[in-house]
Assembly symmetry: D2
């Protein structure tokens, strides 16, 4: 295809999404993406969670264009800017204060792996311990520190080094109910001969966005939090993918009622797909020396502008949260209807980070491909890509949602055959 | 100061530039930054090298606003977009092809540390070796892999971990001429008992932007390149700060006439201060599997738009290079005039990445502070901040340049006393 | 005490056994040790397992003196000596051949930690993998590699380094029956997203001599062996303490009927308390290059002489094994009688590596101290020293055994009060 | 050869010395080793330095046999024994006190690698730093910690792991005089941006026994010691091979007049080829907790007995030292005479740890092989085995010494042709 030849000619083999979705995209709006060949696609992917408010939301777009038009400063490292001040105030007033959170805000560089690296460094520095515990099937990023706490073996192999200073512990329901929660963790922490060195921190995702959409139960998150407190271990919640409203609340851990020691935010924090990340830190842990962690793109003012606009527009009252929960139920119902038609298929995840796991591990990839043919962008998740992962914009309409679910249903029928009636009752 | 209180209240102690330059900035244009209190500052800092074409260059700004107005897609991960295609074509036509370079282009995540991490991972994967050699006073980034090859001890301590799988080797003139080039490196590589494990790669900056503005001589770079070739070690040039025209040519290594195996670019590759990075890879080394390194913000289309505009505007012919060299000479002359007035002061660096090292290690910081009072943003560099580092936009005018140099001269006089006449001849 | 003053004056604080047993010993014979002050002690410690045949067994002693008298070579590195040949032949004929084992024999340096280090190095070299799995409460030695697979946190802290390239897995019954065997291990090995890198090897002790005398069940050992085979992971049995007859059979794993890939032997392999170690290797894994692992004291001929004599004297037929099992039952019965008198006390271990775990974690240390006052050397084991560990010479007589058990009983009564009748039935 | 078939059949391929010296040895005395086939060999190898007083020295042998005959305890871990007390007293009176040394004595396990591991662990624990500097072509042992500070790449590869937490620095004259002493070390220690983390310790051999017999000059050792003191870095001297009189004095560092912080001794400390090692520690560094480093064979009483006898016999006055120096001169003269006959050949090393380096790197191995044919055991050293290494017993007679040198001379003539007259003057 001539239109993609420059990619074949020049771009590294490491590229991946374009292999499944080979269209060349040009414009986008809300939950629609438009390709050069005239086709449009409904977006159940939302920039892997970076587009929680959809593409080019007009309120954010206007704020950004106005800012640029005004000659506003674009790049400022960690100097003070009026834009950054406005973002910080808004973040405090819309997000932190209403939730009684007194975090310090660190700008660690504009990506998820930057915030994770800053969190791991800080936890080690503050505690004087080196070990980090992370969970089976966790995904935290691709730089060396973040990769060490990531589960996926293909990605780990990319390091070309043994990944050290971290051990893995079982995520909620890793044994499908066969064993008690935290049996292993409690046992090793209280046994001075366990050989599992007391960790600086445990890092956790409330929903494992890349690791197969397992969602931790609120009571499990609470027990984890208490365990950390009892053993003086820091709890880091990586809310890069599950945060910013993705699970219904602004933070994914609100449902559990816990307060992590450190929180990692990125993806949708700018609200517009612009690179930005935050590390939230309990005040007494704010112990980096000036410049001890830094990075060139910490002061990306266009992201402050759109981030402020997004916080003001969506998080001033409960309207948006209510709407997201409503829409989330619709999505869940739609996916359940599909899953109920196939033996062994189960709905995974929480809120707008949800999907279907099929017993045939190749099913999700084939359904995603068939969905793409029908004009829907939907990806897979899990170590074997065994989960069809839906992650629409939180601003999607009921009609769009229904339309996307219908496409998935048709694709599933194409791939797996017609659904079987009556399975639902049996489940 | 009430206007900055939210920073004190909410922002992490890790912030640093704002401590020396406490103004709150609002707008910026070319080499001028404007603060809320009505003061303007001449910018000899240029976003730490992310603003090689100055703030808000009108050609880039218009292209960006037009793109946003048109509904252009903002965030696309590594899907194909028309914008990305245009960027790749332009990069090929304006940069790679004229220089006979056949690199593959990888988008590794939008920051300098992302491209460095991708380069280190790739070098290890491709060679099957783990060790990396890096140079004294190198700076490559703040995530764990990049930090391991960085020299600064304060920044290294932030890791909270021993940094492993890397050794340090002396940069050009590390011994002030007291010993032959590459004596140590050649010796250990050819001695199977040296205990320095054969490295996957050597990573080098042509000019050490953070490490004190040491600039490697072209013949040293050539010898390094030949040494790498002879021992089948990959040569990675980290051109994050020194690339994109900063030293006069597009790549800092052009002067030496070498072709590195892997090149890291970021900072000014978007031309507008927008986060973006590239990893350039010799085709035979392009061996990552699809998705083996990834990241959410690899498809930041506004950066593709401004990057394309910048390449077209500045790199279509030799005009800009010629102008940069001319202006670079003026800067160098100005700095030399100042340095010549102070015993032991020397001019360091190359092109627009240049400065003055004073024998009194506190002088540079004090001169920078006095310059700020006079309306000039200029920072320091080096392990003890002993170098006054000037890094103006490449688009700065002669008048602005002269004006900035005059401020430094006045600040130096304030801090160190009047210059001594006649020292120049003695030097 | 004047007799020990040179120890206080000159010896490092790291010394430990002498703190609990401060007598100065002079001679020893069988299960008796004699101190300078005229007191004798019954030895339920046996050199931490290095004296399975007791002190100064006359057959071994005579062989050694005769050898020395004859001018026999003492130290030979890994040159051929007639003595080494004799040892190898005897080891083949008495130990390997009757058990259908075709191991290659490596002399890795004369201590337990040397053989463990050689085994770990070989496993990594042969498989090309770096990770090693070891068990909770394992003890494998004090050099850096062996310490990395050891559980005890006090000993691990001595490294002064994060210990890397190893993860811990739960030993048999680590959860007191609360969960299924190998649930964790099977799950992580079959899950490519588990984040537990596929290991080169799993290293295990059949009985955890230092870790609290947990003994793995034969069926657990078999399942472990099968799991390793299924996943192409090497199985290393560290038989340094539990081998050489300590559990009844020559190798501790014979009861389970498995054949490990690598076996570590030391302690009693010389039979006389002389430093010596062996690494047994499945022939296809014998892939070290000549000299790739070495050490000065690999050719300790006095140890070959006594080792040969011991193998010939004790392992030519089944008499010794039968006797050890008989005596082992007596020991077990005696300990059970004591344990049955105290609520919550349980007998741990197997064969002549057995003891009593008391619910009060300080009980064992106090009973050991009271036993010492009564003339019995008996130590403790476990992360909190919570197990009274009996490890008599295998050659101990019934009378000595009874006498030692009686002392423990009296010491327990002193420390914990009179035993409670009727508890046994309730257990 | 039928006599060695069990070695071929059963022993691991890792064996090495027996490949060059395939005789099967039976008895030995002084500097003579006797093989089964009736041949005798003159020993210029001395158990790689473990037999400084020759084989089966009668004074030591008698003391050992008498001890064994008396029923003396053989194995005692770190309990007090009368024998250990006697050893400590003698070591204090004969070695430490006369040299005004107030070291604490640690028994770290009976081999060189054990003492090195204990020294590295202690240095890290005491300083709280992790990094260790070691020298090019150093050899410190084969367990993971000691291997990390060893230079030889073949041996390092045996680890199957990247070796971490150590950097290499150039040994004395590593650049053949091309650069100033300690240029690199002083520079990196005083440069906070060097990227060479401040080390816990520097570990050094006064003569590199395995690394090619480079001998550090006394002034270099002094400068190293001062550098360590100035930077508060611990200095560890690994005197495993060069200690116990090998270079003339008891400690190899006496010539330089320095006092290391930690000293590693093994090999000839028992005097009889019996496994034993000591770690000597400045009192204020004696900070291991009881049992924080341990090992089964720390209380090897036969080695205490022979060690005590050796210290009393050889080190009660200066006679032995004088005789060693005299004999050392003879050896040096003999080797010089040979070296002078061959272009580019140079004498290396010091005292009884000396040899000839030939420009043709295969020469030494061929001369060693030809010497073996003539009845002399002499090995090679260096990363390419390029040095013929002579290490006779310190008790060798003048006649034996001459005889051995004559054999080497004849072997050299056979291998390299007749010596060239008149070269000496030119050197």
């Amino acid at each position: 295809m001539s239109s993609t030849s420059i990619f074949d000619e020049l771009e590294s083999q490491v590229r991946s999404y374009c292999r499944n979705w080979p269209a060349t995209f040009t414009t986008a709006s809300g939950s629609s993406m438009h390709a050069e060949d005239g086709r449009s696609y409904l977006d159940f992917f939302a920039g892997a969670g970076a587009l929680n408010y959809g593409h080019n939301h007009p309120v954010l777009l206007e704020a950004l264009i106005e800012y640029l038009r005004s000659g506003g400063i674009v790049h400022s490292l960690d100097m003070h800017t009026a834009t950054k001040r406005e973002f910080l105030r808004t973040f405090r007033d819309r997000i932190l204060a209403p939730r009684d959170l007194d975090y310090k805000v660190m700008f660690p560089g504009p990506t998820g792996t930057n915030t994770v690296e800053s969190a791991l460094k800080l936890a080690r520095k503050v505690t004087g311990r080196q070990h980090i515990l992370s969970f089976t099937n966790a995904f935290h990023g691709m730089t060396l520190g973040a990769l060490s706490v990531t589960g996926n073996s293909m990605k780990r192999n990319g390091a070309g080094l043994p990944l050290t200073n971290s051990s893995k512990i079982p995520y909620d329901d890793y044994f499908s109910g066969a064993t008690e929660d935290f049996l292993w963790l409690e046992r090793v922490l209280s046994d001075s001969g366990s050989g599992v060195d007391k960790p600086a921190a445990i890092i956790v995702e409330s929903v494992q966005g890349e690791g197969g959409l397992s969602a931790a139960r609120p009571e499990w998150m609470r027990a984890l939090s208490e365990l950390c407190r009892a053993h003086e271990i820091l709890l880091i919640v990586d809310d890069v993918q599950a945060g910013c409203g993705r699970t219904g609340d602004f933070f994914s851990f609100e449902e559990a009622g816990i307060t992590p020691d450190i929180v990692c935010l990125s993806k949708s924090i700018s609200g517009f797909g612009l690179p930005m990340a935050l590390t939230l830190i309990r005040p007494e842990l704010d112990q980096f020396a000036p410049g001890e962690h830094n990075g060139t793109f910490r002061g990306h003012n266009p992201a402050f502008v759109t981030g402020t606009a997004a916080l003001n527009h969506f998080w001033s009252d409960d309207t948006f949260v209510g709407q997201v929960k409503e829409r989330g139920d619709e999505l869940h119902d739609g996916l359940s209807r599909i899953a109920n038609g196939y033996e062994g298929a189960v709905v995974k995840g929480r809120g707008f980070l949800t999907g279907i796991k099929f017993p045939d591990t190749s099913a999700a990839s084939r359904i995603a491909a068939a969905s793409y043919q029908r004009g829907l962008l939907v990806e897979t998740s899990g170590p074997e890509d065994e989960v069809l992962k839906t992650m629409p914009a939180l601003t999607i309409t009921s009609d769009e949602l229904r339309s996307g679910v219908d496409i998935i249903e048709a694709a599933a029928t194409e791939v797996l055959g017609a659904p079987v009636a009556g399975l639902a009752a049996a489940k």
